[in-house]
């Protein structure tokens, strides 16, 4: 048995003991995970610094803070998420118990990425633990130091049989993909996403694929360009552009291109000083292979800012390219680096057309003060997420499902969505072995009379919620009348009671 096979077999055996099912157990695991981020912040930051040159504050801000929030949320809400979810009844199920029961899937495979190694590897793990699954965690081998720290630290805090960490490169991942899982959660690029889906098909394993693409960023010429560019600059050059939801390129009117370039340059200076190379808050490209790839993308596009790089240090300066053509090299693949191409377009129509000719992105950004522009952009395009007047921040809203569409991915997660994505939502209908007479209409021999009955029950739709509310209101009216009658109160008190009744009525409608 290979190492990978053993890890998966052990995880499955641990899952089958049933110990991950009780909510208390899951909460303990989540609290232990919480402790890991409090107690081991230094080791985590040191490793991320070595891999990506992120500062300690940067690591917290962009990686572990979000995780702390997600863990707290899961701990707080777990009972609610895991509870049976009653559903609307109809005439046929009026006397039955009907609900959706969330259940664990089994053994989940989580394949992490290297750009935010903790954030994108542990966030699905939080969902897997909360949903009661076992999970095999495969950190990206590209972030060498962080993978090692994960392998060392996770087993010290969470159940090492239920949640084993398996490190390794392509051969180890392929071996893992030959095993059978109940769900595979992959964060990475579309090419590998396809390979994973093909492997999953053999076992009919459902997937969540968090992929990428070129996220467009449209700047309306009539908006506050200074603030827009500040936010875009932050979104672009965080982690040296190695963010799946970084604004990949800008679309704007030619008349504002110079202004945009000036503002971006200004913001770069504000954030990363005159010398980003020595600024502790400016990151590095993950490795030389990617360094070469990104530098080659500049191609023959005109450099408006930056453009320089140092291979020995994997440093690429924050770069802006101007007057970029649609067929330029930099527009053929996701940049995933600190190059910001600007493509002039004559207006919103052309921008929308440009975007729709390409694969659906993970996120679409639009900067405008005009609601009509925002709405048109939203209505006439498609993307995983849509954000107006800022970048990246939708990632931190746990009530928004985070995921792609088309080439940018499938499935979604964050907050409750992680829990649901990694659960099986089982439909449950609990009937009684009574009232068999009602069922006669469905049994053969079929007759038009029986059919008439079936028609009534099946086709009659009542809003049972409304009926229930009306009944409650009627009950309140009866109680009020009774009180007024029996108590023989004075006129003033009667008015007060009546008024209180009206207040109750209004509140009932406002809050129901």
């Amino acid at each position: 048995m290979s190492r990978e096979q053993q890890a998966v077999a052990r995880a499955r055996k641990a899952f089958e003991t049933g110990r991950s099912r009780p909510l208390e157990y899951r909460i303990i695991q989540l609290k232990n995970l919480q402790r890991l981020f409090i107690e081991r912040q230094k080791e985590i930051s040191d490793a991320v610094k070595k891999d990506l040159n992120k500062s300690e504050v940067g690591t917290q801000l962009y990686e572990t803070l979000g995780l702390e929030g997600e863990i707290s949320l899961a701990i707080r809400k777990l009972r609610e998420w895991a509870a049976p979810r009653p559903v609307e009844k109809n005439l046929l199920t009026l006397s039955d118990t009907v609900y959706i029961q969330p259940e664990p899937l089994g053994v989940v495979l989580i394949i992490g990425a290297w750009n935010y190694p903790w954030a994108v590897t542990v966030q699905p793990l939080i969902g897997a633990i909360a949903a009661g699954n076992a999970a095999v965690v495969k950190p990206s081998e590209v972030c060498v130091h962080t993978a090692k720290v994960m392998e060392d630290l996770l087993p010290l805090y969470i159940d090492k049989e239920l949640y084993p960490v398996v490190t390794g490169g392509v051969p180890e991942t392929q071996e893992l993909l030959r095993q059978r899982f109940d769900h595979i959660f992959y964060t990475g690029n579309s090419t590998v996403g396809k390979v994973i889906m093909e492997a999953a098909a053999k076992n009919l394993t459902p997937l969540t694929l968090e992929l990428g693409g070129k996220s467009p960023c449209y700047i309306d010429k009539n908006c506050d360009i200074s603030i827009a560019c500040r936010r875009i600059t932050w979104g672009k050059y965080t982690n040296c552009g190695q963010t799946c939801i970084a604004p990949d390129y800008i679309l704007c009117d030619p008349s504002i291109q110079d202004r945009v370039i000036e503002e971006v340059k200004k913001s770069i200076k504000d954030f990363y000083t005159e010398k980003p190379k020595t600024c502790p808050d400016y990151g590095r490209i993950i490795n030389q292979r990617h360094f070469k790839r990104i530098m080659a993308l500049v191609g023959d596009s005109a450099v408006a800012a930056g453009g320089d790089g140092d291979e020995s240090d994997c440093f690429i300066a924050p770069t802006v390219l101007r007057d970029v053509k649609p067929d330029a090299k930099v527009m053929q693949e996701e940049i995933f680096g600190p190059l910001l191409p600007i493509l002039p377009v004559s207006g919103l129509d052309e921008a929308i057309k440009f975007i729709n000719k390409r694969e659906k992105p993970l996120v679409l950004y639009v900067f405008s003060a005009d609601e009509k522009v925002i709405n048109r952009m939203r209505d006439e395009t498609s993307s995983g997420g849509f954000l107006a007047n800022d970048c990246l921040v939708h990632f931190s809203v746990s009530s928004l499902p985070f995921g792609g569409v088309g080439n940018s991915g499938m499935g979604c997660y964050h907050g409750k969505f992680s829990f649901d994505q990694l659960s099986h939502l089982r439909g449950c209908l609990i009937k009684k072995l009574k009232m068999e007479g009602v069922n006669n209409m469905r049994y053969p021999p079929h007759t038009p009379k029986k059919l008439g009955c079936a028609r009534f029950f099946i086709l009659k739709t009542f809003d049972l919620g409304w009926v229930g509310r009306m009944l409650l209101l009627a009950l309140m009216a009866v109680v009020a009348a009774f009180v007024l009658q029996v108590r023989e109160t004075q006129a003033k008190s009667k008015k007060m009671l009546l008024f209180l009744f009206v207040c109750l009525f209004v509140s009932f409608h406002v809050f129901s």
Binding site: V57, L65, N90, L211, I430, P445, L451, F499
Partner: protein, 479 residues
């Protein structure tokens, strides 16, 4: 260009015109679909009779199920409108979760038993290619000829054909593939979807177990099981596949089922108007072959149509227990207890449905907690399909994804997160911009990790206002 390529190209171009987006258009198409089902009852009835021996009123019930689903859509008022959800505090401007549906180009595959169940390709605003099963050939032809007379024939095209045509279709790029059928083909569909990263909904099958507790009302239980088993001659993905019960009740179960068969289908199911038939010779031979080595409790006669058959004392390694029966054979496997039944179920692939008959709520809860299946129904079979609020779908080998009612809409939509901010209050953003500092991090921590439920706050504020108003009125007017 092959025929399949042309069809897909035409559908994509029609979709890109944007005409399937407006809600009025979708409602109109749904009404036309309803008309199709009402006006063409005779054609549909004849086709179903030729394919499946479905006659008389049973098919009409079937159709009305479909009509119900369509009318349910009206009651949703096509929930394609954005849903507002105001939540946490970390951003100064209003955060709105607008969940707007996005549009797909969907390909739909059907199996023969669900010929006329159209999964509301219309109502989430997509274009769709429908590929009916070639096995129910008459129904397939009827759909091909008649559907374009009612629905937009460019947006919703029907492609007929067998395996080669299906393979050609699967080479094209879709935004979603919805397949109903067998596990084996489900794998092929998913494999074909992978190069395009097309998400799939697979409604597959499996062996749906049916546990009968010895202390329950066996007569009623068997009545419901018999009905569910023999609808459409057992060719229902959620038919109870086999029974698990204790040896002491096996004979009683057999007797009750025999009695129900007689009651439902008179003395001879073969001549009964309400008993269907196996779709074709290949399936018929397959089902007959499954009886090999088993003890027939009653039935077992197989000439041109397989009669209702109960097999007793079946073991886990019998031929009939190796694959989904999809026919009118009902094996009974005896188990000593519910624990053994659970063990038996868990040794096998997760089924599409699990049935348990018992008065004992704790027993039902035990089965629910210790097994997994697409759905669980206690004390009846199949009827969960009628409740559109319940998601219908499998898990593991019985499928992925779900549909019915609102779930279909969501399954065939892109639920796109939207966040609309303003280009104001930029000062608040300084905590996130470099140069980073511990102080800024402190602020970020406070904002990101605060657990303010803004919706609750608003409700409380409203309540406080109402209370003040009430107090004021009492003070002023009622003294």
């Amino acid at each position: 260009m092959s025929q399949e390529e042309l069809v897909v190209e035409r559908a994509r171009r029609s979709f890109q015109t944007g005409r399937s987006k407006p809600l009025e258009f979708r409602l109109q198409q749904l009404r036309r679909l309803q008309s199709f089902l009402k006006e063409r009852q005779e054609d549909i009835k004849d086709a179903l009779q030729k394919d499946l021996g479905k006659v008389g009123n049973s098919f009409i019930t079937h159709i009305y199920f479909v009509i119900l689903w369509i009318s349910l859509i009206y009651s949703f008022e096509l929930t394609a409108c954005p849903c507002k959800h105001i939540n946490s505090f970390q951003h100064n401007t209003e955060q709105m979760q607008l969940v707007t549906p996005d549009f797909h180009h969907v390909c739909l595959f059907q199996v023969f038993h669900d010929e006329f169940v159209y999964h509301f390709l219309c109502y989430s605003g997509n274009a769709a290619i429908v590929k009916p099963s070639e096995i129910s050939s008459t129904s397939s032809t009827v759909i091909k000829q008649l559907l374009p007379l009612y629905l937009d024939k460019d947006l919703y095209q029907v492609v007929e054909g067998g395996v080669p045509e299906t393979q050609q279709l699967l080479k094209q790029r879709f935004d979603h593939i919805f397949y109903t059928g067998s596990t084996a083909v489900g794998k092929l569909v998913m494999e074909a979807a992978a190069p395009h990263l097309t998400p799939v909904t697979l409604e597959l099958g499996g062996k749906s177990p049916c546990y009968i507790d010895k202390d329950c009302d066996i007569r009623i239980a068997c009545r419901r099981i018999t009905w569910a088993k023999l609808i459409n001659c057992g060719q229902t993905c959620i038919a109870p596949d086999f029974i698990l019960c204790e040896p002491s009740v096996q004979n009683r179960v057999v007797e009750e089922i025999r009695r129900c068969v007689k009651e439902f289908y008179a003395d001879s199911p073969k001549t009964s108007d309400d008993y269907g038939r196996i779709i074709n010779q290949r399936q018929f031979k397959r089902i007959v072959g499954l009886m090999e080595g088993c003890t027939i409790a009653f039935g077992g006669d197989a000439d041109e149509s397989q009669g209702p058959t109960v097999l007793k004392n079946v073991t886990g390694d019998s031929r009939v227990m190796q694959e989904e029966i999809f026919g009118p054979l009902l094996p009974i496997v005896t188990v000593q207890s519910v624990d053994e039944a659970i063990h038996f179920i868990n040794e096998r692939e997760k089924p599409l449905a699990l049935y348990v008959f018992s008065h004992n709520v704790k027993l039902i809860e035990k089965v629910l907690a210790e097994t997994s299946s697409g759905a669980l129904v206690a004390n009846d079979c199949i009827v969960h399909f009628l409740d559109s609020a319940l998601p219908f779908g499998g898990v593991g080998h019985s499928g992925m994804g779900r549909y019915r009612g609102r779930h279909t809409f969501d399954q065939l939509s892109n639920l796109r997160s939207c966040m609309i901010k303003q280009l104001k209050m930029e000062g608040l953003n300084s905590m996130r911009y470099p140069p980073h500092s511990t102080k800024k991090l402190g602020w970020a921590r406070r904002f990101l990790l605060s657990q303010l439920n803004v919706q609750k706050l608003r409700n409380m504020a409203m309540l406080a206002m109402l209370t003040c108003l009430a107090a004021f009125v009492v003070q002023r007017f009622l003294r």
